[in-house]
């Protein structure tokens, strides 16, 4: 693939907690406007890998990395790069929905926008509405934007977090097992959304669920014990895995 379409790239990336290496020498490329799935058994390092991409990894005491992460050709770990600004370009949704419980639905979606800059009231309202629509939540909440976000169901809360993440218009969206705590219906809605959202964003999703990876992603990487074992187009990987470990995992022999 040509360089212009590669959005996000890691080179020989290792992530450590103290002396423990959670991931080792991972080199991966994420082209623009595609969905990339990271799969592997628990503890394989896929979540840690995701957290290095927006530099959330380093917030953990004792955490550090070697190697590089590049966004649009720029090393995001360079001293001149502010992690605050980076995270405004690389948004993230977590496994458990994390709405701010003291804020209304409206204020939750506006939270990121308000941190970044002062917007006129009408413009803010427009962006909040648009973000909720893109997260397929608008119709369910448009009559109660002022009520607390905690009244929403788990699936609604997760879509609210998605709306909050896309409101400031990041370029990349990281999803850390976004459906792990949702029921099948909530899961399905999030998966449908990913197909729509990839026209605007580059999406990286960590998932435990191989069917989910097969359904939503264009490319898949298989992680095992901190190593990136195999990477390729999702279809090829699930039909003709190259590595025996990958085959064992996707056929359900372990994990």
């Amino acid at each position: 693939m040509s360089d212009a379409t590669v959005h996000l790239r890691t080179d020989q990336l290792s992530a450590m907690y103290g002396k423990f290496s959670a991931i080792k020498n991972v080199t991966l490329e994420f082209p623009v406007n595609k969905v990339h799935a990271l799969i592997g058994p628990s503890g394989c390092g896929k979540s840690t890998f995701l957290r290095t991409l927006n530099r959330l990894h380093e917030m953990t005491p004792g955490a550090w990395i070697t190697g590089t992460v590049e966004l649009d050709g720029q090393d995001v770990y360079a001293p001149a790069v502010s992690p605050i600004k980076l995270r405004r370009r690389v948004g993230m949704v977590f496994q458990k929905p994390t709405p701010f419980p003291t804020m209304s639905i409206f204020d939750n979606v506006a939270a990121g926008l308000r941190i970044h800059r002062k917007l006129p009231r009408t413009e803010l309202a427009e962006i909040v509405e648009r973000s909720l629509q893109r997260a397929a939540l608008w119709d369910e909440v448009k009559d109660r934007l002022k009520t607390s976000a905690t009244a929403l169901s788990g699936g609604q809360q997760q879509r609210l977090c998605l709306a909050r993440t896309i409101a400031p218009e990041p370029e990349v969206i990281l999803l850390d097992e976004p459906t792990a705590s949702l029921d099948p219906q909530g899961t399905q809605r999030i998966e449908e959304l990913m197909h729509e959202l990839k026209t605007d964003f580059t999406i990286v999703i960590v998932t435990h669920n191989m069917q989910q990876a097969a359904r939503v992603s264009d490319t898949t990487s298989f992680f095992y014990l901190g190593d990136m074992v195999e990477h390729g187009p999702t279809k090829a990987m699930f039909t003709r895995p190259k590595e025996p470990q990958t085959e064992a995992y996707i056929t359900g022999r372990f994990g």
Partner: protein, 322 residues
Amino acid sequence: MPTTPPPDDVATSDASLALSAWGDRIFKGLLVASALAAPALLVALLWQLLSGAAPAIGAFGFSFITDSIWDPVAEKFGALPLVFGTLLTSFLALLLAVPLSLGVAIYLTEFAPERIRQPIAMVIELLAAIPSVVYGLWGIFVMIPILQSSVYPFLEANFGWLPIFQGPIYGPSVLSASLILTIMVMPFIMSVAREVLLAVPAGQREAATALGATRWEAVTTAIVPYAKSGIVGAIILGLGRALGETMAVTMLIGNRHDIAASLFAPGYSMAAVIANEFAEAGLGTLHASALTYVALILFAVTVLVNAAARLMIWRMNRGAGK
């Protein structure tokens, strides 16, 4: 089929079962009794206060709270300066202690290097264990001389246009008592606020951070709002402590039955007057009854403050949970 007598161990276990059932009943009775003892004590205390204060209530009625003359010889009693002193010193103490303790709590949970968090918190919590009379002594011999020689003159020179910083500088004063109270309630507010902040789920912090918030923005947008009701609880705990604090205040407030505009002037508090005068008020005199009336008011104020706090926390939680 030969009938076998029941084996011995079954028989003994029956007996021990009955015994343990009795034990259960006794244990339960003890627990119920101790659970009931606390409210019973409260009721008894309230009744004692009411009956002890009855003569003074009969003599002065509600004007007890609005009158300022306190003359045991003439048997004229008015508690306004006492109520005022208690409320003012507590208010000033909270005014200073709340930002200080919340600042320390936020620093210790969010910003301080991992290694110093626990030691600093422990040292501050140790402050709460120092007996109040030791604070009083320290206040008289160390704090007041420093305040008198530098802090109070500075306040008078620069803020003397405010009536609260005018007039002669006494050592023991409303301001001195408020400052010692500040130091005394700070560890309470700090340690509860710290626990509350530590209980905020990591996901909240990460969610704000992932949105591009700085550490400070994460604190103000996610962490403090999440902990809000608990922080209010911490402040109320400090207020309750300040309202009832007796020894150190008695030693530092100056014990003058008067309301002055200046914070440099001595004042009095409800707890302090009771501690000072109970020994000299003869049993069954109107003086003793008036002191009991003061105790009743102090009791009522602290109960009201606590009730108001609980109501606030309850409403906040309901608001957040809806």
